[in-house]
């Protein structure tokens, strides 16, 4: 069944490669969406029944063989990918134009979806690496889709390619170290033998694997590629990368740490959680100050994945502190947040694509007033942004509440390092909550409200039906998880038990809301929603009853200003300016002011240019010097081969003498 889903998606790739232009887009999208839905179905069935699917053949992949196994943990991530994948396919029908409709781009797109479905199912080192690298390859090429029009895409792709390859190398080495003493390379073998490895070896392997997966997940300081690559990809691809591909990093950490290495030691998970804390804060901070809409979303991904990692790390640490129930709770929170994030971030990236198509820009400083021309997109953005801001009764809130429950109850553990991590997690959760609110109030408020700041924004029109359907599809989880999180409790219990490799009695009981039994916590989002809606309805009725007339349209007052142009509005840059000042030490903004005076008097200015840039300080201070050193090394190495045959002969002569001295 799952293989059928994979092959349908793969056939979509083939169709995309062979069909002529017009049917190509539609057929591949239809097949892709069908395959994704099928995969969703398989994943759901596994999550409902708890059974495990396995498949092995030695006829594929020479020397190593090919194995797939889907357990509930994998199924959860397949559910995440397939849900977003289906939306991305449908979205692409309306979106694909120009380069994105080319044979190569479309088939790479479908291939990307295949790998996203297959990575959580891979159950041997070689199979995992195969799909992992295919995933990297296809997404990497997709970033380059529009490279002729967006030169930035090339540099972004270079960053992404280099970092993802280094990450894959790290993962590979870690996994191989695990297999080295165990015999087989299937996950079952590794898991069975890993306890026989020495503690140092296991820790070494885990750190390597963690580095690789954390880089894919976009954890700071390994995130630098992410805010470059995600924005440059075509929007359906960005949506998949940001929602599903980063989740694969999380999946890898859970799979290796909890399943293959049986939980390891506490400090592993403390490290994971600390990565999460740093990522959450750094991502949130940069998201508030980004003016490029997709860059903002990308940094927000770093933020949310940070929270997920806090949950995963907390779960691991608690499990190692003999608190399986609370660990289960934290893991559940992390998994729920993964799904919630996939949906709302997917929707937001798709919306960003819709906006870019409609206005020709994704620079918030050039947008404005889109709510009038693109009401459906605006609604999608409001719901998804609300979810990401953790507005109660939307998905982000339910997930973050669960996470907070896990962290708070983690306080009762005796081990001080663990408690400190829990505390840092709570602080990160609190701080990112506020910062995320700023970022997304800015994104929606500047992008959709007020007046258009450019002609592109002024002439925007609502997107095509398929794009709206896809965006709408992705808002469903934001609402459903938010309003009736209890629906997901049984599925999450299975996935989380499978993730932690332990069958504990889940503290979560199923209801319309979520009740953490024995631990004294509950939310009833449905009831809250009823309350909110009822109050609003009453208020609406009340205001209507006061006067029968509709509100009169007048010019904005603006403290009595007569002239008010769109240029006088606050922009995204100015909106974030106070926060940028507050966090100047971390963000290190660079501002240039250039004043040109009129010739007659220095007291009058002819023009004033202000430029404000925020570069990723970790990139500037950490990566750039490294690259510079490497390049210098490369340039100096060229002198080795200076063309003199005498020198070349001397190399060999010295080698010969060394051989004689050493051997003789």
């Amino acid at each position: 069944m799952f293989l059928a889903a994979l092959s349908i998606c793969a056939s979509a790739a083939v169709m995309a490669a062979v069909l002529p232009r017009r049917p190509r887009v539609v057929v591949s999208a239809a097949l892709g969406a069908l395959g994704c839905l099928l995969a969703s179905g398989v994943a759901l069935r596994i999550l409902l029944t708890g059974e495990t699917l396995a498949f092995h053949t030695s006829q594929v992949l020479p020397v190593t063989g090919f194995s797939l196994t889907i357990d509930p943990l994998g199924a959860w991530f397949i559910l995440v990918s397939s849900f977003v994948g289906a939306a991305a396919c449908v979205f692409n029908v309306g979106y694909a134009k120009g380069a994105m409709a080319s044979r190569s781009a479309l088939s790479m797109f479908m291939l990307f979806i295949v790998t996203l479905l297959a990575v959580p199912a891979a159950s041997s080192v070689m199979t995992l690496m195969f799909f992992w690298e295919m995933m990297a390859l296809s997404s990497w090429l997709l970033i380059l889709t529009d490279q002729t029009r967006h030169p930035d895409a090339r540099s972004a792709a270079l960053w992404y390619g280099a970092m993802t390859q280094a990450g894959a190398a790290s993962i590979l080495l870690g996994l191989l170290v695990m297999t080295s003493h165990g015999g087989g390379q299937s996950f079952a073998d590794v898991s069975a033998h890993s306890l026989a490895l020495s503690g140092v070896t296991r820790s070494f392997a885990f750190v390597l694997v963690l580095l690789g997966f954390a880089s894919k997940a976009g954890a700071v300081p390994l995130h630098v590629w992410l805010p470059k690559a995600h924005p440059e990809a075509p929007s359906p691809v960005s949506a998949l990368m940001s929602s599903s591909m980063v989740a694969m990093g999380v999946y890898g950490i859970i799979r290796v740490g909890e399943d293959l290495l049986h939980g390891g030691t506490v400090w592993w998970w403390i490290a994971v959680a600390l990565l999460g804390v740093v990522s959450a804060l750094y991502g949130a901070l940069h998201a508030t100050t980004s003016t490029d809409l997709k860059r903002l979303l990308a940094y927000s991904t770093v933020d949310i994945i940070g929270l997920v990692l806090i949950g995963v790390g907390a779960a691991g640490a608690l499990a190692d502190n003999a608190q399986p129930v609370i660990a289960h709770l934290a893991m559940t929170a992390a998994l729920m947040l993964v799904l919630a994030h996939a949906a709302f971030k997917g929707a937001l990236f798709l919306a960003a694509g819709a906006i870019e198509r409609a206005t020709g820009t994704r620079n918030l400083d050039l947008l404005g007033g889109l709510i009038h021309s693109m009401p459906v997109t605006a609604l999608v953005v409001v719901i998804s942004a609300g979810a990401i801001m953790a507005v109660p009764t939307l998905s982000g809130f339910s997930s973050e509440w669960l996470l907070l429950q896990g962290l708070l109850h983690g306080f009762r553990v005796a081990s001080t390092p663990t408690v400190i991590v829990m505390l840092l997690g709570v602080i990160a959760l609190a701080l990112t909550g506020g910062l995320t609110a700023v970022a997304f109030v800015k994104a929606f408020g500047i992008g959709f409200l007020g007046q258009a700041r450019s002609t592109g924004a002024a002439t925007a029109r609502e997107t095509s039906t398929s794009m709206r359907v896809a965006m709408g599809w992705l808002t469903i989880p934001s609402v459903v998880i938010g309003v009736v999180p209890g629906l997901f409790v049984p599925l999450l219990n299975r996935a989380s038990s499978s993730a932690l490799n332990a069958s504990v009695v889940s503290p979560l009981t199923r209801d319309t809301g979520v009740v953490v039994s024995k631990l004294g916590g509950a939310i009833e989002p449905a009831a809250l929603l009823v309350g909110l809606v009822a109050v609003m309805a009453l208020l609406w009725a009340f205001t209507q009853s006061l006067t029968q007339r509709r509100a009169r349209r007048v010019d904005a007052w603006g403290c009595g200003r007569e002239l008010q142009t769109p240029r006088m509005q606050y922009t995204a840059t100015s909106f974030a300016e106070p926060l940028q000042r507050v966090f100047a030490d971390v963000l290190r903004p660079q501002a240039d002011v250039e004043v040109t005076h009129v010739a007659e008097s220095r007291y009058y200015e002819q023009s004033l240019m202000y430029e404000n840039r925020i570069v990723d300080v970790l990139e500037a201070r950490g990566y750039r010097p490294l690259i510079a050193v490497t390049m210098r090394l490369g340039r100096q190495a060229r002198r080795l081969q200076n063309g003199s045959i005498n020198r070349y002969l001397a190399f060999g002569f010295v080698a010969l003498l060394v051989v004689l001295v050493v051997v003789g």
């Binding site: 190495a637 060229r638 080795l640 081969q641 200076n642 063309g643 003199s644 045959i645 005498n646 002969l649 001397a650 060999g652 002569f653 010969l656 003498l657 004689l660 001295v661 051997v663 003789g664």
Partner: protein, 218 residues
């Protein structure tokens, strides 16, 4: 018989190494080529002596072949080249002549040290002389590394080859004939190729670029 055998073997083998050192010492192409020719003849003599001593007919054939190829043909070819290029004196080697000679001495010692490890497997009068061949290889290689002129390169290559041939004769009384034939032909061919290249290059470009070929580099 035995002492004559030993004496002649030692004389011929010593001559091979000595002529190698002499090529390092001399600068004029003509005298170097003469040394090379002498070396070829000495090498052939080694083969002949061994062949007579061990009654190896194949080695006799090899000796004759070596005499023709290394004693006559190759030097003749080289003389033709040097006539084409009368200026090709090794006027400015990378390591000057006295230092080269000192270094050659060091190399000979090294060859001796290494050689003893090899000869201890099957000690005999012949194998004891094998370090001389090894030393010739090293001296030849040293010449390749330190001499700039193209002709010197060819000479160095031939020295290395002669050294290896000497080792071969002394240690094993010759490898199977087919291999020996092949290797001799190959040496000849290499020399022909090199000569061809030199001539073509000279025809191709006016300036004498052979000494400083550094157009191709990173």
């Amino acid at each position: 018989m035995s002492t004559t055998y030993i004496a002649s073997l030692e004389l011929a083998s010593g001559a091979v190494l000595l002529s190698a050192v002499m090529t390092l010492w001399r600068r004029g192409v003509r005298s170097i080529v003469t040394m090379l020719s002498l070396q070829g003849i000495a090498l052939a003599a080694v083969a002949m002596v061994l062949a007579l001593h061990e009654h190896e007919r194949a080695l006799l054939v090899t000796g004759a072949l070596v005499f023709v190829v290394k004693g006559l043909v190759v030097p003749t070819l080289l003389r033709r080249v040097s006539r084409l290029d009368p200026r090709s004196r090794e006027s400015r080697p990378l390591v000057n002549v006295p230092a080269s000679l000192v270094f050659a001495a060091v190399l000979i010692v090294l060859a001796y040290v290494v050689g003893t490890r090899i000869t201890s497997l099957a000690p005999s009068h012949a194998t004891h002389l094998a370090p001389l061949g090894l030393a010739t290889v090293l001296v030849g290689y040293f010449m390749l590394v330190t001499r700039r002129r193209a002709v010197s390169k060819i000479v160095g290559l031939i020295l290395v080859d002669n050294g290896i041939a000497l080792v071969t004769f002394l240690l094993t009384s010759g490898v199977p004939l087919i291999v020996e034939l092949g290797s001799s032909l190959d040496v000849l061919l290499v020399v022909v190729v090199l000569q061809f290249l030199m001539v073509s290059m000279r025809h191709h470009s006016d300036t004498d670029q052979l000494t400083e070929m550094k157009a191709l580099h990173d």
